[in-house]
């Protein structure tokens, strides 16, 4: 995978249907807190909230074709922190090194453009791939929220990871 094939750009209204499809894919939403399915009204309402904000969420393009969405959620302007979110919507493109390229770009973008001091990541106990992925990027495991997620008929821990700008 060539780094230059992957670009991040701002979200357009015409992306909403695609984002909606991605987010309703069980192989994607099992790794975030979402528990209901989303429709286009949800997407349009959400788009209104992000339209005027400072570009916290971005579309991932591979050779100019949208393949996913990424950015920062839970931004706290007081302490300059935000949590990373990455969805590679085209699941055929998983495990091809795209995540690594996107995360590298996002860390740069978060610290430089959004002027964050701290980038966080929330990872569910069963998401071993993400755990390894963020540890590779030197994210530190800070907190284990015990049994904080109910999914598939049982409780799971949620891990909080973070990377500080000074690191």
């Amino acid at each position: 995978m060539n780094v230059n094939d992957i670009k991040l750009r701002s979200i357009r209204k015409s992306d909403l249907q695609l984002i909606c499809n991605w987010r309703n894919d069980p192989s994607i939403f099992q790794f975030n807190k979402q528990y209901n399915l989303l429709n286009m009204k949800n997407q349009q309402d959400w788009f209104k909230t992000i339209k005027d904000s400072d570009k916290n969420m971005l579309i991932i393009e591979k050779n100019l074709i949208p393949i996913g969405i990424c950015g920062f959620v839970n931004i706290d302007h007081e302490i300059h922190s935000g949590d990373i979110a990455i969805i590679i919507g085209n699941t055929k493109l998983h495990k091809k090194g795209i995540g690594t390229i996107v995360l590298e770009k996002l860390i740069q973008y978060g610290f430089k453009n959004l002027k964050l001091y701290k980038i966080g990541a929330e990872i569910f106990e069963f998401n071993l791939i993400s755990k390894k992925f963020f540890e590779k990027f030197n994210f530190q495991h800070e907190v284990t929220c015990r049994e904080a997620l109910w999914r598939n008929n049982r409780y799971w821990d949620i891990y909080n990871y973070s990377l500080l700008k000074v690191e």
């Binding site: 528990y35 007081e78 302490i79 922190s81 001091y117 701290k118 530190q140 495991h141 800070e142 907190v143 284990t144 929220c145 015990r146 049994e147 904080a148 997620l149 109910w150 409780y155 909080n160 973070s162 500080l164």
Partner: protein, 174 residues
């Protein structure tokens, strides 16, 4: 009324808000909260409105002793799906963390959270600016879950916050 041993809990009324504002603005209370501004009555009224929406994620009580309002407690950030919530408490007294009323209040609110709301996990985020709060929750058998770095900028430096929690199966005083 919800009765503990030495205190009881009642619902808050609009008329309590002035008192609550003054307490929250006091230095020994303010240093434990996320708030960096001083609160005014507009803040208080907005907050009071916000906890009276349908299916709220905040449930607050006044702490009563000898018919007097001595503090505020409650459950905040209630997550009805994943069955967890943060505990909030302050009492209008210096070193309140060491009083038996603080412990009785926490027991009462924990009983309410587990026994009545069927929550699974009660947690607190405590800034390292207030070690006395950490000590209090340790005494209540909360388990340390880790520290989040650079969570508060105060007095010209960064402070961590600590997370502590107790699960329903760990709570003995049902």
């Amino acid at each position: 009324m919800i009765n503990g041993k030495s205190i009881s809990l009642r619902s808050l009324e609009f008329e309590d808000l002035t008192k609550l504002r003054d307490w929250r603005n006091m230095e020994h209370v303010k240093k434990s909260t996320r708030e960096y501004r001083l609160l005014n009555m507009i803040d208080q009224k907005n907050w009071f409105e916000s906890i009276h929406v349908s299916s709220p994620n905040v449930i607050m009580f006044g702490i009563i002793k000898n018919n007097k309002l001595i503090g505020v407690t409650g459950l905040t950030y209630i997550d009805w799906k994943n069955r967890h919530s943060e505990i909030s408490i302050y009492i209008n007294k210096k070193n309140w963390q060491k009083t038996s009323d603080a412990k009785d209040t926490l027991l009462t609110i924990m009983k309410y959270g587990f026994g009545e709301l069927n929550l699974h996990r009660l947690w607190v985020e405590i800034f390292e600016t207030t070690p006395e709060n950490i000590l209090l929750f340790k005494k209540m058998n909360f388990v340390y879950e880790g520290a989040s770095r650079q969570k508060l900028w105060r007095n010209n430096k960064w402070w961590n916050s600590q997370f502590h929690s107790i699960l329903s199966k760990e709570f003995k005083n049902k």
